[in-house]
């Protein structure tokens, strides 16, 4: 048995299941992710297509991502062209959210670096003049 964690990705937010679930193998964990996606999007499929469930191993390394639109059974009724189009839009929206999240992270890192730099600069300017 192996432990897997499931993280719901909604826009730029992440909602982890901190407990995790044990499964025989990865295939079972993947099937569980599909079931959970189905439950979370049921009766609100129109606006949750870009949501995702990420499956991580016991070291929290991502090993699979389930896009809700991919497992939305209702879309089959609309034919391959429409279904493919909806899935593409959902995937693009998800990718855009990831990109925005990366920008947020980068900006956060940059702010932290600048704070450190400011502190170092203040420390340097406070040194006795004789050292220069």
């Amino acid at each position: 048995m192996a432990l897997y964690y499931f993280i719901l990705k909604v826009g730029r937010k992440r909602f982890p299941d901190p407990v995790g679930e044990e499964f025989e193998d990865f295939a079972d964990a993947r099937a569980h992710a599909h079931t959970v996606a189905g439950e979370l999007m049921r009766n609100r499929e129109n606006w949750t297509g870009h949501w995702r469930v990420e499956v991580c191993d016991d070291c929290l390394q991502p090993c699979y991502e389930c896009l809700f639109a991919d497992v939305d059974q209702r879309l089959k009724a609309f034919g391959d062209v429409v279904r493919g189009s909806v899935i593409r839009v959902a995937r693009t929206t998800a990718a855009l959210n990831d990109a925005l999240l990366n920008i947020d992270d980068t900006m956060s890192d940059l702010r932290q670096t600048m704070r450190l730099l400011d502190a170092a600069t203040l420390g340097y300017s406070a040194l006795p003049a004789s050292r220069s």
Partner: protein, 245 residues
């Protein structure tokens, strides 16, 4: 009188209460205890003083789902006692509490002698049936977040803001995976609606929970008000005798 902490018992006439009173006993109901199995005879009638009894439908694949809740506003087993009928589904203790219990034969005897008492029992059964029907519609049509919020409101009405519940139990009651409940709880926590710690849910903002819930929570409250004449203004708080009488 401790028995009057149950709303149904508080509505029983003094004469009928005297007939029941000598046979009523107080018991503590621990979480998870099954008080009636599916298709089993009911020998004891339960009048909870608090907590929650869940009516659960079990399916052959091992899954189960809750279809109704009974708290201090109700009674379990009285209707079955009157007609010597079976409990159609499993009934278990979801939130522990104290309850007044009485032998089903005593309830039948009092009901046979008192049309008022029988009427009260039938009224509650009517409300419970309405609640089950509303739950059926809710499970079919509403999304998991709205259903979770509706469920929290109903529990708030019966128990208050602190709910001793594990995610496993919550998932079982809602008929979904624990992972689904966990992620929905994370979302509600992120919005500041609840606080979820291991084995315990605390409702932080009931007004916001109501905004996220489906119409079913209000529908159940209105059904109760129509049957028992409870004012709507008092329905958004834990039910107590101060508010219901």
């Amino acid at each position: 009188m401790p028995h009057s902490k149950n709303r149904i018992l508080s509505l029983v006439s003094p004469r009928d209460l005297q007939l029941l009173g000598a046979h009523l006993r107080l018991v503590d109901l621990e979480q998870g205890r099954v008080i009636a199995g599916s298709r089993q005879h009911v020998h004891t009638v339960f009048f909870p003083h608090g907590g929650i009894l869940s009516c659960v439908v079990e399916l052959k694949d091992g899954s189960s789902i809750e279809t109704g809740m009974i708290g201090n506003d109700g009674v379990f087993g009285a209707m079955q006692a009157i007609d010597d009928r079976l409990s159609l589904n499993k009934v278990m203790v979801q939130v522990p509490a104290r309850a007044s219990i009485v032998d089903a034969r005593i309830v039948k005897k009092v009901a046979d002698s008192s049309p008022d008492f029988r009427d009260l029992i039938v009224k509650y059964e009517q409300f419970l049936l309405g609640q089950v029907q509303q739950t059926t519609a809710c499970n079919a049509v509403h999304n998991i977040e709205a259903r979770t919020c509706k469920w929290l409101i109903r529990m708030y009405d019966l128990v208050g803001t602190d709910l001793p519940l594990t995610q496993e139990f919550l998932a079982q009651m809602m008929g979904v995976q624990r992972t689904s409940v966990s992620t929905v709880a994370s979302q509600l926590q992120d919005k500041g609606l609840i606080e979820y710690r291991r084995g315990k849910v605390q409702i932080r903002n009931i007004e916001a929970v109501q905004l996220h819930a489906c119409e079913c929570a209000d529908a159940v409250r209105e059904q109760y008000a129509e049957v028992f004449g409870k004012s709507k203004e008092t329905s958004a708080a834990p039910m107590s005798l101060d508010q219901t009488t």
